[in-house]
């Protein structure tokens, strides 16, 4: 999966969790928290990403990203280490 595909997947799932962002144009520099996704929403998003990407990894490995771009990098690194 490419970094761009991961970014698109994050945008898709974020819209599912926070329907108010349905027409929002996501950017790599966006913070999920600032977009209105609370901690439960973000936990939901991580699980949806793991399921969509087929990643069975500890959730703690996904902590620390400050924006969507950093989250893309974390997921991308996971695909590299598990493929």
């Amino acid at each position: 999966m490419t970094q761009n595909e991961i970014f698109e997947l994050i945008a898709k799932h974020t819209k599912e969790v926070v329907p108010e962002l349905e027409n929002y144009d996501f950017k790599l520099t966006d913070s999920l928290k600032k977009l209105g996704a609370n901690s439960i929403d973000r936990t939901e998003l991580m699980t949806m990403m793991m399921e969509s990407m087929g990643l069975d990894i500890p959730r703690i490995d996904l902590f620390g990203a400050q924006n969507i771009g950093e989250l893309v990098e974390i997921f991308y690194a996971k695909t590299q280490s598990t493929s």
Binding site: P19, E20, D41, E44
Partner: protein
Amino acid sequence: MQKHNQQVELLITGIGITSNIGQCKDSFTSALLKGDSVFGKVQRLGRQLEGKSFLGAEISDLTYPEDFPKRFLRSASFSSSVALVTLKEAWDEAELDNYEPERIGLIVGGSNFQQRHLQQIHQKHQTQPQFLTPTYGFSFLDTDLAALCTEHFAIKGLAYTVGGASASGQLAIIEAAKALQSGQVDICIALGALMDLSAWELQGFRALGAMGSEKYRDEPQKACRPFDQNRDGFIYGENCGAIVLERGNIRNKIKPYAKLTGWALAMDANRNPNPSHEGELKVIQQTLRQARLSSSDIDYINPHGTGSPLGDETELKALKSAKLNQAYINASKSIIGHGLTSAGTVEVIATLLQMKALKLHPSLNLETPIDNSFNWVKEKTIEHKIKKALTLSMGFGGINTALCLEK
């Protein structure tokens, strides 16, 4: 019995209803008075077992208000979504938007009412539990329904659930009345939660012999027949109701539907589903005493009447022992089915809407009543101005409740 403070009148000032025969008061009342039922084989996903089919009445085309929060839809159970929609109707009618949130409470009647929803989640994640939706960690609790309602309507007084099996809906009303009398809140909503049965509970009820209908499996419209000689158990119905109760001295401009003047709760000291003549008679007598009414004052009874062979017979014996044969009596469940946790609230609503319409709804399939000494409303709607009503609920595990409502 609760000591009733006669100084404080308890008024019902708002109603919300979502049922299998209609959403909102107008369509519900219209279908109820016409006796338009929708019984058939249950279709909702999660209500099928291989080789089995069950009868019931399900809600179709639930309409959400425009301001309904979309993000709730993804994680809310069906019971919770229906509760939010139902509460909205009652909330708006009682004009609660501008009332102090700390003085408003919500009591939800029911426990274990999200069974089908939970079973669907279990099934989906059976092979990959690591991808279970994290909100399951709190949404599996019945209290999530109450929590969603408090968030959406900004309720800050109190909110909790009470479980009393099929008497839960009346139990919620009793707890709301107590919260008003104690002064905890000024306004308290009682909501009978939609019991979302999965195929497992349906099969359990069938195995227990509580649920019909083996006799009428190919004629679903005939299956639900409370108090008729050919009844063979209750038929399930999806329903949810909310009523707004308030102290009579806090607002002047809201015109009430009726006053709640009596309530009673008694246990049979019995874990099993069988009814008790003694327990039922006790709550009838207690609620009449609290309302300071005699049997002859009651002009309408909305009974529990499920279609259970022993339950219906026991209830009529209790009513007869209380000398209540003269009052009009009909069976709401013959039209809307048995909502279990919601039944007590929904049938109070049916009583209030008949009171307002000055009419009594028919009792479907009441061809040969098991006792002809009662004043049955049978196949035809009749004109009647309800002044003083008695409503009853009974639940598995020996719980009996009764309420008095006065115009």
